[in-house]
């Protein structure tokens, strides 16, 4: 089994058969359910960066929210630090959450505009009652700001969010996460609202923290090119299910699932031809997940093969592809074997 040098064998997060359903009302008295996350399993090792990639509405953010226990999963286990977060409540949940931190997409919305940088970073310490004195907390905050390359930290600590650029705000969010000394950081599209120049800096910082402190990331993005540069492994999500997962070089270099292929086609910025082969239609609603393989109504391979019955009737399981052991898995009846 291939293993990335930076990741060691310790599992920091083990998500097993995660299911998240949201009850909704359609019209008067008709109740139904949105299957936002439908049987998702994956692991993240210490120091590893796993990217969840997919279109909007595919459920990748819901997976992140469930991992953070910002919502209660319908079923499944979220194991971290020997505890199943899915079962925890109240004080125990809060204690377990210390080791998991989250960074959001919008650095303009995630900071309180009336709060100084110091207070934003110190707030989690106060909530979790960390640090016995003010001076001890001050030191922790300054260290976290320094770690996030907000320099000089003493001066930055006194600033308000409106005095900062988008990149600096995202660094404050990172500092607020780092002050808790987490094992895992869930980053939901952390750079997609930033300018190109700020993006590289934030990604570098995140990778630098991984290298120095062994922090793991669940990195959520719709951009495969970003996932390509930062992630060790990629999980491609379609309509609430992982359809392909594997080492980044395998998934990008030898994709097995036709949906991964389609995402790669539109991400490749030098395909030679101007007009792209693009999937038709939009992601179907998670209210009405198609029968059999949920991708078959849009699947180019299904069309190519003349519409085999199995795709319409049987939901494919996420099985190992080729000789790569469990490393590379794909949920397609006609998975291409990577070479």
């Amino acid at each position: 089994m291939k293993k990335d040098v930076t990741a060691d064998a310790t599992v920091v997060l083990d998500v097993v058969n995660l299911v998240v359903h949201f009850p909704v009302r359609r019209g008067w008295r008709r109740r139904t359910v949105v299957r936002a996350v439908d049987d998702v399993s994956f692991q993240i090792h210490r120091g590893e960066i796993v990217a969840l990639v997919g279109e909007s509405g595919c459920g990748k953010s819901t997976i992140a929210m469930a991992v953070m226990r910002l919502l209660v999963p319908t079923s499944g286990n979220i194991v971290s630090g020997g505890q199943d977060l899915a079962l925890l409540r109240g004080r125990k949940l809060r204690a377990a959450r210390r080791r998991l931190q989250m960074i959001f997409q919008d650095p303009f919305g995630s900071l309180d505009s009336r709060q100084r940088v110091y207070d934003a970073v110190a707030e989690p310490l106060i909530i979790h009652r960390i640090g016995s004195s003010k001076s001890e907390r001050d030191e922790m905050v300054i260290n976290a700001l320094d770690l996030a390359h907000l320099r000089p930290p003493e001066r930055l600590a006194e600033m308000f969010p409106h005095e900062l650029s988008g990149g600096q705000r995202q660094r404050v969010a990172i500092a607020a996460a780092m002050v808790m000394q987490p094992d895992l950081v869930v980053a939901d599209e952390p750079v997609s609202m930033l300018d190109v120049s700020a993006r590289v800096g934030i990604l570098r910082l995140m990778m630098d923290l991984r290298d120095r402190l062994g922090i793991s990331y669940l990195f959520i993005t719709h951009d495969l090119a970003t996932a390509w540069v930062v992630a060790d492994r990629i999980a491609v999500v379609y309509l609430g299910r992982i359809v392909e997962i594997g080492a980044v070089t395998t998934v990008v270099g030898a994709p097995s699932h036709p949906y991964t292929r389609a995402l790669l086609d539109v991400t490749d910025d030098d395909s030679g031809e101007q007009s792209l082969r693009v999937l038709k239609g939009e992601t179907p609603s998670a209210l009405q997940i198609p029968s059999g393989c949920r991708f078959h109504p849009r699947c180019p391979r299904y069309l190519e093969l003349g519409g085999p019955d199995v795709c319409r009737t049987m939901d494919p399981s996420l099985d190992a592809v080729g000789e790569g052991g469990d490393d590379h898995r794909c949920a397609c009846h006609f998975a291409k074997v990577s070479t």
């Binding site: 390509w228 070089t249 910025d269």
Partner: protein, 328 residues
Amino acid sequence: MNVLNVHDLSVEYAMNPGVLRAVDHVSLVVESGEAVGIVGESGCGKTSLGLAIPLLLPANATIASGSIEVSGEQVVGRSEVEVNLLRWTKVAFIFQGAMNALNPLHRVDAQILEAISAHEPDVPKAVAYAKVVELLNLVGIATKRARSYPHEFSGGMRQRVMIAMALACRPALLIADEPTTALDVISQAQILNLLLELRRTQDLSLVMISHDLAAIKRVCDRIVVMYAGIVVETGTTDEVLGRSSVVASPAHPYTRALIQAHPSLRRERSLSEGLAGHPPDLSVAIQGCRFADRCPDAQSLCREVEPPTITVSPGHSATCHFALGEAS
């Protein structure tokens, strides 16, 4: 004939105190049927340039110098009423995040109909409605979905509606500010394909403003790179950004840094050095080259003398002392 002829344009914002020159003596020509992409970081003046063309600048902005001709008609100095006649019919604008500008209370077809009847009041309603359906079909929305409300559409579909609306009065020029930025990858690709198709079938000229080099490369013939209010490089997209058979040869270090800052599946799995720092404050005078503070190759000459615009090859120029390798 040129669809757009911007000459020596400067746009200034009144600040308190002083002024900020967001666009500084910029010239831009778009030929009929051509698609030009404007790229750069936020705050480099690309949106101000785009907004100036149909005179849609905010109240605190003034056009300090230069002229703008749209389909041969001068825009600068015209009254609001006169410019209104040019908007939509000669030049249409799709704003950043425009898909959120649809009125949630009205059906999509009614909103496009309103746009048509506002500009062509004499057209009978039935004829105008037929046009609405034709426009929606043109952008890939089925007739049966014409009577939907905006909330029934995804972001990509709403962007299609905005494009249909922009095309309602058959403008010669469409200015699109970040048309794909808020969309996910598949919708982005669909919208870019649509723009390409419209260029071919509708004889449309396009100015596309974006920070997404991949999108520009896909749709545009020519690229204009802006930095700190000026054009630092212009050339064909093939020459500046490369295409499968053509090697990219950007001449300005800023363009090179922008390309490097963009993650690509075609390159190695590593993060570039990227672009450290920020664009300069435009409310104070800058001596020498505007990019010198962030430029990896800056020499003492760069900090003292403003660089000339040097022709690298026919149709390709860069505003850099070292555009040809050596100081000139």
